[in-house]
């Protein structure tokens, strides 16, 4: 299908595109540049790499900050954690509707991202600056408390596990020692059976030592106050004083979406008009009038009357460039 008739038609109806192709994107860009009425309160957390392998340190391929940010994001998806945040922030949770509204507000407005290897930024955006501050604060406090509690439980479990390891190692050592004592071989110190039993007893002793060491370490972790506190607040959330600026993504995406929408709408309108318009534009259109001879056509020169000199020079430049390229 030749594009020529379409282009010719477009040359007559191009004004139709103007509202869509120009005004709409401009309106969208203008809207995108408007400052929002949202306020964001944020807090920075410093997270430590756990010293004990007993404490879950997350995905070893990620940084501590990334692990913690993922951890918090996952927690925000749970009702129990979000509910604790809502209660901490004194959000209404009395009725089911209030609860849902509060949880939705927390989830939609809160974000956690790693801003460094050990730095996590937690923010909350809300229409009300005081609410933004309260919720951001509540998220951080709840998360730290929750992490502490979980870490403590993990260490308690580890101590219990270590204790059972120590018990097992002690039993194994006692068995090995009694085996050595009860052996009456004839080969003296060169008896291979005796040598093997002594080695087993020594290995059992070593295992017991390791188990004891691990037990003591985990007991220390459990008993020392603050050892489980692997997260510290470096920047406290505060009440924002000015609304948020325009985001870069919005600045780019809105005009792009606007242009796409404008082109789509213009194309749709154009297609509609071309389908419904039955004006005579080219010689082929006169086929609807049989027997009428086309004597000739007179080009439109109305647009040449008032010359726009900047545009004229631009066109001359393009023409010159075209000639150069063709040569």
């Amino acid at each position: 299908m030749s594009m020529k008739p379409f282009i010719i038609a477009a040359r007559y109806k191009y004004l139709l595109i103007v509202p869509f192709a120009v005004i709409l994107p401009v309106a969208i860009i203008f809207a995108a540049l408007q400052r929002t009425s949202n306020y964001t309160s944020w807090s920075n957390l410093w997270v430590e790499q756990p010293l004990s392998p007993t404490v879950d340190s997350g995905n070893s391929f990620l940084t501590p900050a990334q692990n913690r940010a993922n951890d918090l994001t996952e927690l925000l998806a749970t009702d129990s954690f979000t509910m604790k945040v809502a209660q901490k922030a004194n959000l209404p949770t009395g009725t089911e509707t209030e609860k849902n509204t509060s949880l939705a507000a927390i989830r939609s407005g809160t974000s956690a991202s790693a801003t460094g290897r050990q730095l996590v930024s937690v923010s909350h955006t809300d229409n009300n600056p005081a609410d933004a501050h309260r919720i951001a604060d509540a998220v951080v406090t709840t998360y730290i408390a929750d992490t502490d509690a979980r870490t403590k439980v993990l260490i308690q479990q580890a101590v219990l596990f270590d204790q059972s390891n120590v018990d097992a190692a002690q039993k194994a050592l006692a068995d090995a020692q009694s085996a050595v004592t009860g052996y009456h071989g004839s080969g003296g110190s060169t008896d291979p059976q005796l040598t093997s039993l002594i080695s087993s007893a020594q290995a059992a002793q070593a295992t017991l030592n390791d188990a004891n060491k691990q037990l003591r370490s985990d007991q220390q972790l459990l008993e020392s106050p603050g050892t489980t506190n692997l997260i510290s607040v470096t920047d406290q959330a505060s009440t924002p004083t000015s609304p948020d600026g325009v985001k870069k993504t919005k600045l780019l995406m809105f005009p792009a979406a606007g242009m796409l929408l404008a082109i789509s709408l213009a194309a749709a309108l154009f297609g509609f008009v071309l389908r419904t318009d039955n004006s005579i534009r080219v010689a082929e259109d006169l086929q609807a009038l049989p027997g009428l001879l086309l004597l000739g056509s007179v080009p439109d020169v109305s647009n040449l009357k008032k010359r726009n000199w900047p545009r004229h020079f631009f066109r001359l430049a393009v023409t010159a460039l075209g000639s150069t390229v063709q040569r």
């Binding site: 010719i8 005579i280 006169l286 009428l292 004597l295 023409t319 075209g322 000639s323």
Partner: protein, 253 residues
Amino acid sequence: MSLEQTRPWEAARNETAWGKKWSPALAQIDDLTLTAPVFGVIEERFRQIAARCLDMTSEAGSQSIAISSATAGEGKTTVSIGIASAAARNLGSDVLIVETDLRRPQLADDFRIEANLGLADYLSGEVELEPVIQPTRMENVWLLPAGRPSANPGPLLRSKTFQELLKNLHEAYGTIIIDAPPLLTSPHAAVIARQAEALLLVARAGRTHIQDAAQALKAVGDVPVRGIVLNGTREWLPGWVSRFLGVSRFAIE
């Protein structure tokens, strides 16, 4: 008409200050004659149109053609002037443009002629013919303007005086171009068209609808229609783009 000969015309155009009194029809002819290198295409198009609707041979006798359109603003006056100009240049005989749209006279203004009296006044018997026929600044082109606007031009245009006038004009002018009112909006257009040997229909590209053109053809009945001229066609690509691409500029060759 050479470029040199048109210099005074250019001066007159400058004096008039385009924005002050805008005349689309004359403006096109103005540009056509004055800036031949730019508007050579248009000049050539009018010459072709004139050759197709008029007998351009030296043996051609007096001939007349009515030029009309379905509705107003489609460019019949522009085409009338263009054909008159081309015929005058190529035939070398006098060409008279008769403006018959008595309700909305325009040609005197287009030619920037001070003409208070015209066809309507002659047909009313108020003036003689000679003083109302005006020379124009185009060589061999004369104008019989409409004169004072008439609210009821029907009786005048249907009168025997009008028929006799056209007959008499044939004796004096080689070519008579009747600039008729629009066929669908004026009930007298068909009557006027019958006074000419043939009718030429003008349509404005992108504006005249097929149905209107068909209706206009129906309105003229048995008047022989010489053909149609498509006015205001646009290049399928803007000139600078087509020059860049090195392709043909015009939609209709």
